[in-house]
Symmetry: C2
Subunit: 345 residues, 2 copies
């Protein structure tokens, strides 16, 4: 593979050979409800704690992706998983008992794109014949950890986003793998990752943790600008540009920041944080959390690629690299955005 | 590269072209005090908070490694960094302002080995012409986060390990890179990574967070056994076997677990957690934290390879995938161990 000014060009075109998504009750009431592989009305997923529930959800998602591909954990050489919980315990506990080597990753809400990129590098290099990546978040674990216990019934500001209860998982393997007629793609070849870009941490000195879209928009603009420049392409060369999860506020800022560089993505752009809930669901500025763009990618977006509603898209996942401790210490919010170019033939 | 039953064989033999370590006051009073590039008596590293201090320490370490190699952040295509803080903020803030693309990783105390492996994969694949990996921990941030505020003056049990204030960073690049006569290796070729193994999460149902050596020993035993089996080598084929950070209790358990499989490493084995402090320093079972084996690797161990005191070693970093929340929820402690085989010609 090649690294052209920071953009990774995959020569082997790693395939997303399978994908799966699992989501919670609120998400099952939204516009994407039919696209998820499974939704679960019980926020505890049958477990004792919300943290166990999130791990269980990730495990179910990984198992569903393997099942749709007709493989087991023994057939996968590396699992790259991440989540928002302290010490990434949702992921660490989710893979317990699997015989797949595990690499923990952390990119806040950008984790799914980071997982796709590192999985593709592992597959392209020959380190893995098959990789799985997954990212999850859970409304109840996130509220407890980042904000206040649910029982307080705290009000949220209009710029705030709601943490999605959801998980997405993808299996990545080389084009040369056989038997791609998996349940994920009954009628077509799977999409492939053509190129990607790992983001640079940016900081525009936003310090309001209730307005993370604003903190993350500059990171998305930076990565998109660098990607288009390095590949010599324009926004209109793509069928759609998905971000996750800027929400209403961050999306508007992204348009403004790109306009300064004469880039217009507005007509092509959709934000996963605004796709997962309906306006009537009262979620303020939209959804967020690792599981938001992960579950939207592994439902609506990959379904659309499968039926060739799109053939060439950009998926840009953004992350705010804060913690409750840094917020209390009046730090600003460093942010990052990783980009993946996904295509079908 | 090849994946032989889970062991990664690097064909390009990625070089550790530079390394650096920075440590705190307690560590500067230990047996490795002369081996660190820098020690800092101020636990705040001139910053306002301990968390900022840990970020500052990681940034200093990365900058020192770059300086010793004669490169800048613009010359490095990916930074793979991790730490123990919630949402990995030590790393996220450490790379803010660098123009290097950043991938956050999490492996608890195994992070340095995970960084070495993923950096090597990135370099071998061509994704990066040069990668940097780093891992840090800080006694004061860890005590506040995992246990009690320092001001409480809490007693620790004899099996407990002390979190090291330290950081290690390595720059990885292909053998074909030129100008290896860097300050890290004034007189010799740099060591290379010959093979490696990403660990599988194990859980032997240990739930005592004051005895993490016991929780992690089975993971180390599992990874060592699988590595030796897959490569057809024996422990005596290596000049030394370093683990990080099992401490006194975990090391003894590791010998017992390997003895069940007729593997004897005792005479070759040294544990980073037992190397970093002297017996007289009253640290109970030894050191721990991402920064423990990272700083020992990037001082004593790589120095010893440089003077060819060793030519072929195994570096096995172990991690306990718990969080304070999972401990309170009476969960057991899943653990992992990643292995790197480092050689000099």
């Amino acid at each position: 593979m090649k690294n052209c000014n920071g953009t990774l060009i995959f020569e082997s075109k790693p395939r997303i050979s399978s994908f799966a998504s699992v989501a919670g009750k609120k998400e099952s009431e939204g516009p994407l409800h039919k696209a998820f592989d499974m939704t679960e009305p019980d926020p505890r997923f049958g477990q004792k704690t919300f943290e166990q529930a999130e791990s269980r959800m990730m495990r179910l998602t990984i198992e569903k992706a393997m099942e749709k591909r007709g493989v087991t954990d023994k057939d996968i050489d590396i699992a790259l998983c991440g989540d928002l919980l302290n010490q990434c315990v949702a992921s660490g506990f989710a893979v317990r008992g699997l015989s797949t080597p595990y690499a923990g990753i952390y990119g806040a809400c950008s984790t799914m794109a980071l997982g796709l990129i590192l999985s593709s590098i592992a597959v392209e290099s020959g380190a893995a014949r098959r990789a799985v990546c997954a990212a999850s978040s859970h409304f109840c674990t996130a509220e407890r950890q980042y904000r206040t216990p649910l029982e307080y019934g705290a009000q949220r500001t209009p710029t705030a986003q709601r943490t999605v209860t959801g998980c997405g998982a993808c299996i990545i393997e080389p084009k040369s793998s056989t038997g791609f007629g998996s349940a994920s793609y009954p009628n077509s070849d799977p999409p492939y990752i053509d190129s990607a870009r790992i983001g640079i941490v940016t900081d525009y000195a936003v310090s309001d943790q209730s307005n993370m879209g604003a903190a993350m928009a500059p990171a998305a603009a930076d990565t998109i600008y660098r990607y288009l420049s390095s590949t010599g392409t324009k926004a209109r060369d793509y069928d759609a540009i998905f971000t996750g999860d800027l929400g209403v506020v961050g999306s508007r800022l992204l348009y403004d920041l790109l306009a300064e560089r004469n880039i217009d993505i507005e007509k092509l752009h959709r934000d996963c944080g605004m796709m997962i809930y309906g306006r009537e669901q009262d979620v303020h500025a939209g959804g967020s959390g690792c599981g938001c763009c992960a579950s939207v990618l592994c439902s609506h977006i990959l379904n659309a690629l499968q039926i060739k509603a799109y053939r060439n898209i950009l998926f840009i996942a953004t992350g705010a690299m804060l913690s409750p401790t840094t917020v209390m210490q009046n730090e600003t919010i460093p942010s990052i955005a990783h980009l993946v170019n996904i295509r079908v033939e």
